[in-house]
């Protein structure tokens, strides 16, 4: 007993002393300007060909420069690695001139060969993150500063190539196609403002400023991205000053942050939305008996319109979403609000339960058996819609509480069932639903999001129900025709007009009630850095944006040290341990005495 205590005492004292030493040792270091970012998600792989998680894009945006960039203000195309470009051949061919003296962060010159290599290899090998952008492009490098890119079809996105991360040929050339998906890409060789320095799985990664970046060395020396699995702990760290900016605090703590002095809380909009989707399958394209059919009433436009009128989006935002987000009208197909049409008041389905009831009455959906639920015309069955709820969403259940109550009010029954995302994908593919709520986050170019609602994308091959994107089962040949038109329309204003026309049409079909434009919740401190950029301007988030322009734009307010103060933590910890050791020393004598006394006692236990 006695000896154990002495050893314990010695050990605690040693630990205390060394902790103090460790603390003071750390104090000597700091001089670099460090930005510390708190995220709730780790990266998977830093390989831009295959990575799929949101934080991956942040790393690529910082590490890999692109031929052209997208402006922070409105995503318009601005020079990047290329300082200028011109088109020929009716906009099918684009010739880019690179800036002089471009270099990779390891000193190897960056030339047009790297650009052509990336585009051509990504197209040939169908790199997951590239095909959507360069699937139709072929690139040539006639001289080190010239890239000639030819598109096989008219592509309105050109000359913009802001999503195509140029990878270092001298590194990727050594990786075969078979090994590419396994390559973790922690080489840290890049051409952007920051490059990867260290990555510690599940904890943090660090990026350092690239002095050879073509715009010059950033004012921030290093960025530390820390991964939190407890978003409340992340919020505490921001409030304490250990972090400079955070993404994805819980909605409850976001409201606290909105009231906190010295912290700016941002509801960043970049096109994400939640929708109440109805099953609009109308027999096109034809499909086998393996698929389930929607409730027959859903085929009736008036019935769908009545549902749209029964939803009070404003109430959903303030009550189901807890006041976070913006009530929506049309679907937003892009992070750029320019592409989302304003639905005129005369065409809008505003919340009006009486109007909805009258519409249902006039369309022949009457409650013939007097049970409060309307019946299908001609003495048909009660109309009870299968309403599928996502278990992974914190909002799906509260939304369903409101929606089912409103529907009940207008005489439509619902049958709720809960699914995981993976099961729900299958159920949607099978057509085994009448309605569900889910959401999308679109790209900057509206094309992908628009493509999901073509007839071809309605599930129709039963060998794999999940192979399709059209989760409204909406099929409208006019929409498809307009889609094909906007795809090749090189005149921007004309293309915007076509897209607006498509989305207004889609809105009027009432198969897809977009409920809310859902924001990315973020917060940053104002005491250490200035120059936070929202992308797009005024409404967007500050980090995890489409091209992450914030980081290069940040300037330290004073010569601040790292956000993460190991010194105080180590120091206080050491003091604490010393106190504990002294306490133990003081207490140990009486304890010893007591132990000795007990050893001698022969008194029975009770």
């Amino acid at each position: 007993m006695n000896r154990t205590r002495t050893i314990a005492l010695a050990a605690v004292s040693c630990v205390a002393g060394l902790t103090l030493l460790a603390g003071s040792g750390l104090a000597a270091k700091k001089a670099t300007v460090t930005l510390t970012v708190g995220l709730t998600q780790d990266i998977d792989t830093l390989n831009p060909a295959v990575g799929q998680l949101v934080p991956d894009y942040e790393v690529w945006n910082l590490q890999y420069a692109t031929l052209t960039r997208k402006s922070a203000k409105d995503f318009s195309t601005i020079p990047g690695l290329a300082q200028s470009w011109r088109s020929s051949n009716h906009g099918l061919t684009w010739t880019y001139t690179l800036r002089p003296h471009l270099k990779w962060s390891d000193g190897v010159p960056l030339t047009s060969a790297d650009v052509a290599y990336t585009i051509n290899r990504a197209r040939k090998e169908q790199w997951l993150n590239y095909t959507a952008f360069i699937g139709n492009l072929t690139a040539k490098a006639p001289n080190p500063r010239t890239v000639v890119i030819t598109s096989s079809v008219p592509d309105p996105r050109l000359p913009g190539l802001g999503d195509t991360y140029i990878v270092p040929m001298h590194i990727y050339d050594k990786i075969s196609k078979a090994n590419l998906t396994k390559y973790a890409a922690q080489d840290g060789v890049g051409s952007g403002p920051f490059t990867l320095e260290t990555y510690v799985k599940g904890q943090y990664w660090k990026m350092k400023a690239n002095p050879g970046y073509w715009q010059g060395k950033p004012a921030v020396d290093e960025i530390v991205f820390r991964v939190f699995t407890n978003s409340d702990a992340m919020v505490f760290s921001l409030q304490k000053g250990e972090l400079d900016v955070i993404d994805n605090p819980s909605p409850a703590s976001f409201k606290d942050l909105q009231k906190t002095k010295g912290i700016v809380a941002v509801q960043g909009q970049q096109g994400s939305f939640d929708e109440l989707a109805l099953n609009g399958y109308n027999g096109k394209p034809p499909r086998s008996k393996k698929f389930s059919s929607p409730n027959p009433a859903l085929a009736d436009l008036r019935f769908r319109q009545a549902i749209a009128m029964a939803i009070d989006k404003q109430a959903l935002v303030s009550r189901a979403y807890g006041g976070i987000g913006v009530a929506a009208d049309a679907l937003s197909p892009s992070a750029d609000p320019e592409w989302t049409p304003k639905i005129p008041a005369s065409l809008r389905y505003d919340f009006d339960l009486d109007k909805a009831k009258k519409l249902l009455d006039s369309a022949g959906y009457k409650d013939t058996d007097g049970d409060g639920i309307r019946n299908l015309p001609n003495g048909g069955k009660d109309i009870v819609l299968r309403y599928l709820i996502r278990s992974e969403s914190i909002y799906a259940k509260p939304i369903s509480d409101f929606v089912t109550a409103w529907l009940k009010d207008i005489g439509i029954g619902t049958k709720l069932s809960v699914y995981s995302d993976s099961q729900l994908t299958v159920e949607i593919g099978k057509g085994a639903y009448d309605m569900f709520t889910w959401g999308w986050t679109p790209f900057v170019d509206p094309d992908p999001q628009l493509s999901y609602f073509q007839c071809d994308e309605v599930a129709h091959d039963a060998s794999d129900f999940t192979n399709y994107y059209n989760d409204a089962s909406y099929c409208d040949p006019t929409y498809d025709k307009l889609y094909a038109q906007q795809r090749v329309e090189l005149n921007h204003a004309k293309r915007v007009a076509i897209v607006h026309q498509m989305l207004t049409r889609f809105y009027r079909s009432a198969v897809y009630d977009v409920l809310e434009y859902t924001p990315e919740l973020q917060a940053y401190r104002t005491d250490r850095f200035t120059g936070w950029l929202q992308q797009p301007a005024k409404i967007g988030p500050v980090i995890l944006t489409n091209t992450s322009p914030t980081y290069f734009n940040l300037k330290p307010i004073k010569t601040s040290t790292s956000g993460f103060s190991a010194v105080s933590v180590g120091g206080i910890g050491g003091v604490l341990l010393l106190v504990a050791a002294l306490g133990l020393l003081g207490a140990s004598r009486p304890v010893q005495a007591r132990a000795a006394r007990e050893e001698r006692s022969t008194k029975p236990g009770r």
Partner: protein, 322 residues
């Protein structure tokens, strides 16, 4: 211990493991769902790319083909590749295993030692103020959910007092190496470890106490005292070793769960261990990862149960002959 006894237990463990291997495969395929569809929703992939992904994930053959493939892989200690991170499941588990073993291992050890000691102190003088004090304390901590206790400790010691870091297992800004790095990491360990220790010591303390109270009625203790042994000796040599038997089982079984981690505490303290890995894999859904994790967890539980059986037989001769 007879060879027959040992080999019987060993065979039993192996049989259980074989069952787990088969069950493990089908468990994650009962629910229909296509990971490619979910993982790549909204990614605008071409049909060819999706087919390629299904092939990469090994989802393109029949269930029987996939099962055979799984068995062959397993025979080569290959648990497949994670859908989400594309790294091998073995390496993913390897990364997450160490933090968990340290955290849950240290805390299990501490809660065992402290809990057993508390149980002895409380049980030896049943009804004393120490007994009342300790039993109320352990009952209270045992009843507390670990995530709640964790959150309280985090707010008190990391946020308000600032004595300990808020989360993680090391300081990204640190350049410490060697022993000072170890100390720094120990500093990060304190709160999560304290949470788990306090939350679980009650279990040991309560079992130890009641076991000791039972043993105290036994005739051999009266005999020991009649021989004139001191109270402390009676306790140490005669009462505690016999009372420890049920605790040994409990310890062995709990060590089996060390690997499966502590999901709630790991997520509160952003501790990148196996518990968190499981949570992420369920959310993704990352079938190979889940499969691998469940296999490792089952193996560890089976192993420690076997160890408990053998240790029990060694400690208590009655078990061997029964």
């Amino acid at each position: 211990m007879s060879l027959r006894f040992v080999s019987g237990k060993l065979l039993g463990a192996l049989g259980t493991f074989a069952f787990v291997i088969v069950f493990n495969f089908f468990l994650f395929r009962v629910v229909e769902g296509n990971p490619v569809g979910t993982l790549f929703r909204g990614r605008n992939l071409t049909e060819a790319q999706r087919a390629e992904l299904r092939h990469q994930f090994g989802l393109d053959g029949s269930k029987l083909d996939q099962f055979w493939h799984y068995l062959v892989q397993l025979a080569h200690f290959n648990l497949g590749r994670s859908y989400e991170t594309n790294a091998t499941v073995i390496s993913e588990i390897g990364h997450a295993a160490w933090p968990t073993v340290v955290l849950v291992g240290v805390s299990t050890l501490l809660s065992t030692l402290i809990g057993v000691w508390m149980g002895i102190v409380a049980g030896w003088r049943r009804g004393s103020w120490r007994d009342h004090g300790l039993t109320s304390f352990t009952m209270a901590t045992y009843a507390m959910p670990d995530f709640w206790l964790g959150m309280l400790l985090l707010i008190a010691f990391a946020v308000l007092l600032g004595w300990f870091p808020i989360g993680g297992i090391s300081d990204p800004a640190s350049t410490a190496t060697g022993f000072s790095k170890l100390l720094e990491e120990a500093h990060y360990l304190v709160l999560p470890c304290a949470t788990l220790t306090v939350a679980y010591l009650g279990e040991y303390s309560i079992v130890m106490r009641s076991s000791l109270v039972d043993v105290k009625q036994e005739d051999y203790l009266v005999l020991a005292r009649a021989k004139g042994l001191r109270d402390a000796l009676v306790r140490r040599r005669h009462a505690v070793p016999n009372a420890l038997l049920p605790v040994v089982t409990l310890i062995a079984i709990n060590f089996g769960f060390v690997l499966s981690g502590a999901i709630a505490v790991e997520s509160i303290y952003s501790w990148p261990g196996l518990g968190l890995a499981t949570y992420h894999a369920i959310r993704a859904p990352d079938l190979p990862m889940l499969q691998g994790l469940f296999l490792v967890f089952s193996a560890s539980v089976i192993f420690f149960n076997l160890l408990a059986d053998l240790a029990y037989a060694y400690l208590d001769p009655r078990v061997r002959t029964a």
